[in-house]
Symmetry: D2
Subunit: 331 residues, 4 copies
């Protein structure tokens, strides 16, 4: 089974590399830039290569493609492959607009093709361990989630920091709970390049009452990858930069006692044990490719399907429009 | 010179204690609850005490009062003392509405009385050290500020978490820069007590282009007191829980080179030395009381005057209204 | 029941303060320096005071004393009180020589008096929690213990850093295991004051095969209070400066598989969950005083009795002599 | 210029890889295990390979060899190459005994060949930055150095933990100061494999009065790579696991004032700024290979020459013998 990787720039080579884990997959690298192909040939001499994706469209042995081109081209390329009967994996974010995402979903359904989005964090062992704690009721009712994803660099030129980084935090949230946003606020700063926010803040209220606050940035003194999940029974800290204790579960909370005589509340603060489960070291990218291959073989819907991809693109759109409106107050 | 402390609950005793540092001040404790006075008498037997502040209004030897009562009573009590010719220090936040704050400012000006607000962080040595770095141009143009102030407990019953904690972050910001907000977003969660947000997020855009993101909460697994200030030349991290390196100055940033031929940008990321200045251990509260006493003696306007107090109350009001509006989307 | 506190210098006031927790105890402060007594009278006006301990010897209502004088005087004072029929608590280290310690133990036994040593860490909740893990077999066979206790200052003038700080680490070790040293190495540096080591390192082999490495110092850039206990099944880190996770239990180790054919070993490294139990916040000093009072009432042997005190003094003596011998190589 | 790498097991491939940085060097891989060569051929297809080092001895185009075989074979192989007129780089530790090291030095001198030892830390940018601070007098008189190098695994089978890890700490110390040991203590624990210490502690007194305490281990819950250097003027912490602040310079110390009247000392503790210099990210191994190549070309003595290698082997020998003697007390 041949699988093509379209786009061998920054991220594509990682996907190509992971396809070599699967003995029944023959990877095909594809980039319009012949220099990129030459570089890749040295690193992975065992892949096939091609500098024109149109040729892959007609290759009957090619079952599927993995698209890692600039966001603005996702829609066009994915559409062509879906219509040619290929299963399609698109890097996050799915498309540059919700309209495009909706059309892709429709085509995939009609053509009965797999449409998967590269939301890697949905395959991250730490994120999945946290999902367990939430799903089995350990955390209790979810109250709020904060997520910070900042460091110094690298400024992308084709997308603002929100389109680049926030999909990670949003896909984690949708791994943990099934809800829709009812309110979105955003502000952003175009510190270095006019017109391209490199630091942004998002506030989201979901229809299950959970609040999320997301900070993303390319202009921060230290690298921070920290997510806090607070529920009625327990609280979780997930620090992706901690090599030893990525996930910590705090047996902390507030116990409320209503004292009916006075209509008063008596609050008791509880801080108990802290537990840091061992997180398997498996590479999320490999698990993600494995899931894609399984969905191809078993004709199943991926976990990170078009619907999740669309949901996230919609939030990014609304956040961006909220940021633009807010920045309008400055003039 | 007699100075009265009205309200000997949670915070008042700290202010009373600090007044004993000044040999020419005779502290007078005042609380309507006689049991609070009895407790205080044991701890500070050398103060005078009174259970009715109305009597202090008429005491000619009493030059000034420090008001540490519930927020809802600030206006009434402060007004009476100002009109009786006393100088007045009011704990933060100044009043429960901007209308009240405006009236107090007016009265103080008319009566030529000192009106100071207890924004302690304006007297905090770490905050003042950061002010130096900003004012002398080391940091360059300010881009954005984030500030997180969360821990587990204690839920106040008279004020939401925004009115309780956000004044600290706002007063730090106004120590560092002189600007007015042009846009304010807020969301908040009433996790434990209906009607009383205990976790809240604020986004503010100021008229100088600086963005601030503030997180406050009484329901967090770990205590965090962290503020990050990012400018065009340097970046600062201020971690108030770090006993050794409270303030770190990062010689980090992005150098932009325009390449005119192509209208393209070339960005170079710079990460250099990190410098952590020694922060004097002086107690902010003592410095604050000293400043109040000096303003009384020299008839000067305090650094944390009514105008700053009003500015902060206004932001709290708008944040609260934004939160209420956002929560409306849930129904 | 009257209990006297002899010596109201640096440490004595803490012991005096804790005696006030017990309603049936009437504390008596005693110091030959009348100025110290004057200071104490202001802080604790409800204690009796005396500037001559000889008078306490004859006070029939005085059941016991707590001795917090310089180490060199412990023996003399403790002996007099034991011989006068009083129960005696002596601050650590018990005496300045093992000969003195042995004599005190003998007297206490003959006079049927309680002799307790102020090894506070034996009453520290974190140390006791670790004891549980060790005693219930969780840790497996103990391999080694390292303990670091350093910071900047304060140089004592009456004792080297070993006599000042190492008793803490040694008393923790003896809380966790019952063993005798068979080999002791020491080196020390007299950085600031000639003749008085302010940094010292100890290596101890115990007769159960456990190795201990102890670092103590008054001349270190950061405050470190860290003890690591490694066993065949689990490992423990105890960081006394961590407000949130003082004790961490690591489910880590090496599983050995002998492959008989080749006489080779196959080692498998295991790193599992990390668990940080809630440590009660109780003050060790209060628990220590409570234990002393209970021993007085019930005529029982204290946990930190003369024998433990002697064992520690012996190690300090040998360490000191090893240091002196080692420093002899320098000339 | 051909340079051979003898031994392509755990470490050799890293050295081979780094030789490719130098255009005028033709690397030759050599291992008696043909399977290792097959693996390497896939990774570095551009190197020459050989499974018998005897053939390299006679290759006239081969100028030098890098020996990365088990320690017990260093002497034999290095000797043959030196006597065949080749320059020789030997991985640390130089040999398994000081007698062998002395003979190699002698041969190298007689044959006028370069003899360099692979003490990588002597080329580590952080270690060299600290050297600057010490050499320019910033730190003042050196008092003591502690160094901890522990983690979980990997147990070597050909060498105890002291021979494996302590050379790193010792070579750092000799980068910073030129002194000879006058006293060495050691204890070690054979936790997992009888006869092979996997945790060891070293105490060294040098003839300049500096004390060093070294902890090495393969059986520790957390990875620690921390070295502390304390001098009369400043103190340094070097944490090799910290991605952001590897080296911190503390402006801390004790100022002594003698008060002659009483023969008393007045000590004043100083804690000032903390400064963390930017450490260049250059790979030490590349710098090391570069230095070897330069020494070959310019016929110069390497920084990490045979004499340093011998000095370290001597300390390891004495430490080992001290450990054995100490363990004898257990029987």
């Amino acid at each position: 089974m041949k699988i093509g990787v379209i786009g061998l720039g920054y991220w594509g080579p990682n996907l190509l590399r992971n396809l070599f884990h699967f003995p029944d997959v023959q990877p095909v690298g594809c980039d319009s830039d012949i220099k990129r192909i030459d570089v890749m040939k040295k690193v992975f001499p065992n892949a096939e290569y091609n500098d024109d994706y149109k040729i892959l469209l007609k290759d009957d042995n090619l079952k599927a493609v993995v698209i890692a081109t600039p966001v603005s081209t996702h829609f066009e390329i994915a559409k062509e492959f879906l219509l040619s009967g290929k299963d399609v994996f698109v890097e996050k974010p799915l498309t540059k607009s919700s309209k495009e995402a909706e059309e892709l979903i429709e085509i995939a359904e009609k053509e009965k093709r797999v449409l998967m989005v590269g939301h890697t964090f949905m395959f991250n062992p730490a994120v999945l361990k946290i999902k367990e704690f939430i799903k089995n009721g350990d955390i209790g009712e979810l109250y709020y989630i904060t997520s910070t994803r900042v460091n110094l660099g690298i400024h992308r030129k084709d997308a603002s920091v929100i389109w680049d980084l926030a999909p990670h935090d949003l896909s984690m949230i949708f791994t943990w709970m099934d809800a829709d946003p009812v309110h979105i606020n955003g502000v952003g700063k175009e510190s270095i390049i006019k017109g391209l926010p490199d630091v942004a803040f998002l506030q989201i209220i979901f229809d299950n009452g959970v609040i999320a606050d997301i900070q993303v940035g390319w202009l921060s003194p230290s690298k921070i990858r920290k997510t806090i999940i607070v529920g009625s029974k327990k609280m979780i800290e997930y620090d992706d930069t901690d090599p030893q204790e990525k996930v910590k579960v705090f047996d902390s909370g507030v116990d409320v006692q209503e004292t009916y005589d006075y209509g008063e509340y008596l609050l008791q603060y509880r801080t108990g044990d802290i537990y840091s489960p061992k997180i398997p070291g498996s590479e999320p990218l490999k698990l993600e490719m494995e899931h894609f291959i399984n969905c191809i073989k078993k004709r199943e819907k991926p976990i990170s399907d078009g619907k999740i991809g669309l949901k996230i693109v919609k939030i990014l759109e609304q956040a961006e429009s909220s940021i633009k409106k807010a920045n309008g107050s400055l003039i």
